[in-house]
């Protein structure tokens, strides 16, 4: 699905200094797999996601989406940003429909799909409401339905639950696994919460501090479907401590 080879990204800061955000990073993501990326703040996680999304240039290397070089945003990719970025002057439904509206696809099929997605994330009662009436978690769920409405094959998520409280975060994690188990899209999910990374993932990628490189690639062999009880599973505990160790060594 995605093949990243030797990716390097150098920013030139406003002062003219060169900042190497990513260095020689290689990563393959197979279809239908949930891949999470953990790493310290500033290690280039957002940069990586933006490059895969086609929203950021890269300096060296190769990024292929289904064998074709990424050189711009694609309908096959849905993006959920760190903040919900909902348009406050559009309703929940209109925000979900935004990608379809941009394509001029306002027919019944997409409306039904939008309603179904909103139902799956528990927002069916808020279809006509405006984003200012939503809580942080609800707003982020609205953003997830927007990323899914065109049925992309790859979903990119940049710390979507980073701003939420622990209880809401748990609920969102659970809902996301359920959603994923019913759709099985390829997902690249960025987080700096190790538990979240393990709970959601088939594979956890651990990144080093800047310049970002991959320092561990940990397969998660926990059974699915998963519920919150998985977190007390000995294997879960073992995996999280192994990743924590890797992050420590990385420092």
């Amino acid at each position: 699905m995605i093949a990243i080879k030797n990716l390097t990204k150098v920013f030139v800061s406003t002062k003219g200094e060169q900042v190497t955000a990513l260095e020689g990073l290689s990563l393959d993501i197979a279809p239908h797999t949930f891949v999470t990326v953990v790493g310290p703040s500033g290690c280039g996680k957002t940069t990586l996601l933006m490059i895969v999304a086609g929203l950021e240039f890269y300096s060296e290397g190769q990024v292929l989406l289904d064998g074709k070089a990424v050189c711009g945003p694609s309908d096959d990719v849905g993006i959920v940003f760190q903040r919900p970025v909902l348009l406050p002057w559009k309703t929940v439904m209109e925000n979900t429909m935004l990608p379809a509206m941009v394509r001029g696809l306002k027919d019944g099929h997409y409306r039904e799909r939008a309603v179904e997605l909103l139902r799956q994330v528990g927002l069916e009662g808020f279809i006509g409401h405006y984003p200012s009436e939503l809580s942080g978690g609800m707003a982020q769920r609205n953003a997830i339905t927007r990323a899914l409405v065109l049925d992309p094959r790859l979903l990119l998520m940049d710390e979507p639950f980073g701003a939420l409280d622990a209880i809401t975060r748990d609920r969102m994690m659970l809902q996301l696994t359920e959603l994923w188990e019913s759709t099985r899209k390829a997902v690249l999910f960025i987080t700096h919460n190790i538990q979240e990374a393990v709970f959601l993932a088939d594979r956890v990628i651990v990144m080093s501090p800047r310049p970002g490189r991959i320092i561990a690639d940990v397969p998660v062999d926990l059974p699915r479907p998963r519920d919150l009880d998985v977190m007390s599973h000995p294997r879960f505990v073992e995996l999280t401590s192994r990743i924590r160790e890797r992050l420590e060594i990385g420092k």
């Binding site: 999304a53 086609g54 945003p73 993006i79 940003f81 903040r83 406050p88 984003p131 200012s132």
Partner: protein
């Protein structure tokens, strides 16, 4: 007050904050404003009478109210009526506002959207904006003659700049995340402008409209000072000429009342247009020339 003392503490804590502030807001001004107004009028009267100020320097509130009453109750089709003159001033102001405001918004959008146009036109816009437009009034008279055309041109000039500048900067303060979102969706330039940038710019555009409303009245009155045959500006000059200061006061009050009404209409429209904004955000007030 006695109520809140005898009521258990829990009760006040249970009252939702919003209803409390809403009540506080509604009751307090409705009492304080009339009281302070009466006090002010009384003070005014005492100053005039106590210091024996001549009526042509400062008329008493009573004399002003009589002049206002006479002006407002006169047949509105005759030159003795303040309403007639307000009508004339409003016509000039409105025409100039429509011409100047629309061009300002449209050009603001064009400059905001096109880097090339921005580079060509922005220096002129900034340069011309700093010219005190009122000072051009006599020149406008020379070019456009006496009466309505000059009024419209001067008013248009005055209203054009606040809307040009506010539209342009409004389109430029859009949150980067929205633009990234739209780019990720491969939205067209037009879609991004229409769905994201224009709604984001609305608060700034309305602030510009608010400013332009006052400027349009200012422009119309100054044009009338210089060359008009009717309108509030003419009334003010006429009363000043015959030392009828009460008449000048009455004319100024009518003009201010008109401005307040127009301002309220703009606020109402703004609240409708920017329906998603929190209520308190509408409370800021801008000073005008």
């Amino acid at each position: 007050m006695a109520d809140s003392e005898s009521a258990p503490c829990l009760n006040t804590a249970l009252i939702p904050k919003r209803s409390m502030t809403a009540r506080g807001r509604r009751t307090r001004p409705s009492l304080t404003f009339p009281v302070s107004l009466v006090a002010l009028l009384l003070l005014w009267h005492l100053v005039v009478v106590g210091f024996r100020v001549p009526l042509y320097i400062l008329p008493t509130p009573g004399a002003t109210l009589v002049a206002l009453w006479n002006g407002l109750t006169a047949n509105p089709l005759t030159a003795g009526s303040l309403l007639f003159h307000v009508g004339v001033t409003l016509r000039g102001a409105a025409l100039g506002f429509i011409v100047g405001g629309t061009t300002g918004v449209l050009l603001g959008v064009l400059i905001g959207e096109s880097k090339a146009l921005e580079r060509i036109l922005m220096p002129y816009a900034v340069g011309l904006q700093s010219v005190p437009k009122i000072a051009i009034a006599p020149l406008v008279m020379i070019w456009f003659g006496y009466g309505l055309p000059s009024t419209v041109v001067l008013t248009a000039l005055l209203t054009f700049f606040p809307l040009l500048i506010n539209t342009y900067s409004g389109l430029n303060v859009v949150e980067r995340d929205y633009l990234l979102l739209m780019r990720g969706l491969r939205a067209s330039r037009w879609q991004t402008l229409w769905w994201v940038k224009v709604p984001s710019a609305l608060p700034m555009i309305f602030a510009g409209i608010d400013l332009a409303i006052v400027y349009s009245l200012l422009g119309a009155v100054v044009a009338e000072f210089v060359s008009g045959s009717a309108g509030i500006g003419v009334v003010i000059i006429k009363y000043q000429y015959i030392n009828d200061t009460a008449g000048v006061f009455a004319a100024l009050m009518t003009l201010s009342a008109t401005a307040i009404v127009l301002h309220s209409i703009v606020r109402l429209l703004e609240r409708r247009a920017i329906f998603w904004r929190k209520r308190d955000a509408h409370k800021q007030i801008t000073a005008t020339a």
